[in-house]
């Protein structure tokens, strides 16, 4: 192992998490042209749910991979339910409203969820059990990469490939793409647009929850505020890659993670955020639609 490789892995790990969250931003934007600011909070709620489930399971004597998988499954369902409800409560009634209204509604939802968790749980940092470390890897791999990093990168890759396949080949995926291209035309062709929007929120929330569980167990602590920082970075990644574009969000996440890691490693961690956002500005100057974004055709 050398320095470059370690920084590279750290960057990819962090970038994978950004990408998982960024997918939620970009999918929602693609369909509704709405920046769902409450998305970071869904990620945080996913992590909190996993923490509670993991603590309960550990008390009942379960250990290791079983806890990880069960906690993740519960977290995914819980976060998906939250994502679904947020859309129904905060965005659906505003579907015909001016574009600024759902945006404000999203910010309100974000603040509400943060404070809800703050009051219902605690303002303190909580230790998150180290679920990833228990996973044993074959020696050939473990020499190169820490188990937690391997699992994060591997899981993120599988999820992203899965999502791409779903969007490409399933009926639901086709419907989603159709709604993203032209909501009214899709509606005319008999697609239940509201159902597609709900599903988009569910998928995005599930991905964010998985990201939340993975990173929380990698760094070992959570509080009610983690969604804000991660949300801002993931949103940056989505814009960097081209908001609305699925491969763009994935690429944007990885590029952002690597930039931060290398900036810290080779220059100074004081400037971690400076480099991350300088990169964003540079790319937006030369390619305003983002790395993989298509210049938006005028919608009707």
């Amino acid at each position: 192992m050398n320095y470059f490789w370690d920084l590279f892995l750290g960057g990819i790990t962090r970038g994978s998490i950004y990408a998982l969250i960024a997918l939620g931003y970009t999918m929602v934007y693609g369909i509704l042209e709405l920046i769902n600011f409450a998305h970071g909070e869904i990620y945080m709620i996913g992590a909190f749910t996993a923490l509670i489930v993991a603590s309960v399971l550990t008390m009942h004597g379960l250990t290791g991979v079983a806890v990880l998988i069960l906690a993740t499954i519960v977290a995914v369902f819980y976060a998906a339910a939250y994502g679904f409800s947020v859309e129904k409560i905060a965005y659906k009634p505003l579907r015909q409203a001016p574009r600024l209204s759902p945006l404000i509604s999203a910010i309100g939802m974000s603040i509400f969820l943060q404070n809800y968790v703050l009051l219902a749980q605690t303002s303190d940092f909580l230790p998150f059990p180290n679920l990833l470390q228990d996973v044993l890897l074959p020696e050939a791999i473990s020499g190169w990469i820490a188990p937690s990093e391997f699992i994060i990168i591997f899981t993120a890759a599988v999820l992203m490939i899965g999502l791409t396949l779903i969007l490409k080949f399933t009926k639901m995926g086709k419907a989603m793409r159709a709604v993203a291209q032209d909501r009214e035309m899709a509606m005319l062709l008999g697609i239940n647009v509201n159902r597609i929007i709900s599903r988009t929120f569910i998928i995005g929330s599930a991905l964010a929850a998985i990201g939340g569980v993975l990173i929380a167990s990698h760094v070992g602590r959570i509080n009610f505020y983690i969604g804000f920082g991660a949300g801002i970075k993931a949103f940056t990644a989505a814009v960097l890659g081209g908001i609305g574009s699925i491969p763009g969000a994935m690429l944007g996440g990885l590029v952002l993670g690597l930039t931060e890691s290398f900036a810290t490693g080779y220059i100074s961690s004081d400037y971690e955020n400076v480099f991350a956002f300088a990169l964003l500005i540079l790319i937006l100057i030369f390619k305003p639609e983002g790395i993989l974004g298509r210049s938006s055709q005028q919608k009707v």
Binding site: F125, A146, G229, G265, S268
Partner: protein
């Protein structure tokens, strides 16, 4: 029932206040001690415990006959921790001809007031102003304090790292905040000044970042023996965990922002062996126990911030006057630097700069899930 109790309580308070007020009115030749600090506004909770501490101390002293037959009285003035008010307070106290001042509470207000006291030749002892320059600048020979300045903590940590642990390559990390960065900069200055060790890394991290793996790699490849971290416990917990998960055995040494039980709770087993500095443990000092019990008896509540420091400050200045057999500036200043006073903070006297020797910080280490003081 409750009303009756409240009435009794208020009556008791009034009687108590009168007890202080009556001798004031009678005795002609009293020793006047000024009490200056925030007694109103946002920071009143920092200033009021000092008033209570001083009242309790002089009550005891007066019950024993005062200092060389002279009773002690208090002159209480409120500066709300505002520098512009502090200068007015200082002028007021000077014209009231106080013999010494306990205060002020905030560093900024203290600094603003000090010149007035210096020109009038009045001793000032603060229980809470921690800004290093107040003593280190050498501009205020009339200033003393019973709390350790911000840089002594860094000095203690640096000395401990170099002399007790004998590390040669040190990485210093901070959270870019006033407190953490200030601590880190002092630690760097002391370590580089000693010439015994090398600072291989000096960097700030972003609080609340998603993870800290890159900085951890940097520490690892800088081949540091020890990390000195300036900041608070959430980031420290993350960095320690990521270091240990990478199999790094690098020692982790930090400040009193990390000497907190929450740090151990969050970092769990990874917190083991971490060093942190923190205020000296006074919980076993019988004088501290007695002073706290006295407060509970008189006011029915737990004492507030800097109570013990103020208690010690009042005792120290009165003891110095007793030893010097005078309230004259030079004699009292000399006595403060010469004679030890037995206080709730331990036996203290003051060094040339005016900082208390014997009060301050200790090093702690996490052993089996609790911070244990290292003797």
């Amino acid at each position: 029932m409750k009303n009756q109790f409240v009435h009794k309580y208020i009556l008791g308070m009034l009687l108590f206040l009168m007890l202080i007020a009556i001798p004031t009115a009678q005795a002609a030749d009293t020793i006047k001690i000024g009490i200056a600090g925030a007694h109103s506004g946002d920071l009143a909770s920092y200033g009021l415990p000092t008033v209570k501490a001083a009242q309790l101390v002089i009550k005891d002293i007066n019950a024993q006959g005062g200092i060389a037959g002279r009773k002690v009285e208090l002159v209480i003035e409120d500066d709300a921790c505002k520098p512009e008010m502090a200068t007015n307070v200082a002028t007021k106290l000077v014209s009231a001809k106080v013999d010494a001042v306990i205060g002020h509470i905030c560093s900024g207000a203290t600094k603003a007031a000090l010149r007035t006291y210096k020109d009038a030749g009045i001793i000032v002892i603060s229980p809470s102003a921690t800004s290093p320059e107040l003593t280190l600048s050498g501009q205020y020979p009339n200033f003393f304090r019973t709390i350790a300045p911000d840089d002594t903590q860094a000095k203690l940590v640096a000395d401990f790292t170099l002399q007790t642990l004998k590390f040669n390559k040190i990485a210093i990390i901070h959270d870019k905040g006033d407190y953490g960065k200030g601590f880190a900069e002092y630690a760097k200055k002391f370590i580089e000044g000693s010439g015994k060790a090398q600072v291989v890394l000096f960097e700030g991290v972003t609080p609340g970042a998603v993870d800290y793996s890159a900085i951890v790699q940097k520490i690892k490849y800088a081949r540091a023996d020890a990390v000195i971290y300036g900041g608070y416990h959430p980031e420290a917990a993350s960095i320690v965990q990521q270091m240990r998960k990478k199999g790094m055995k690098t020692a982790f040494i930090s400040d009193d922002g990390v000497k907190d039980q929450t740090f151990i709770k969050v970092a769990a087993s990874y917190a083991e062996d971490v060093y942190a500095s923190g205020p000296k443990d006074t919980t076993k000092n019988p004088l501290a126990i007695a002073a706290i019990a006295e407060h509970k008896k008189a006011y029915g509540t737990e004492p507030g911030a800097f109570y013990l420091n103020a208690y010690a400050a009042t005792q120290a200045v009165l003891n110095a006057m007793k030893k010097a057999k005078s309230t004259e500036y030079n004699a009292v200043a000399k006595a403060l630097r010469t004679y030890q006073t037995d206080t709730p903070l331990g036996k203290i006297k003051f060094n040339k700069e005016g900082d208390a020797i014997g009060a301050g910080f200790s090093m702690y280490q996490v052993r089996k899930g609790v911070y244990v003081e290292i003797k």
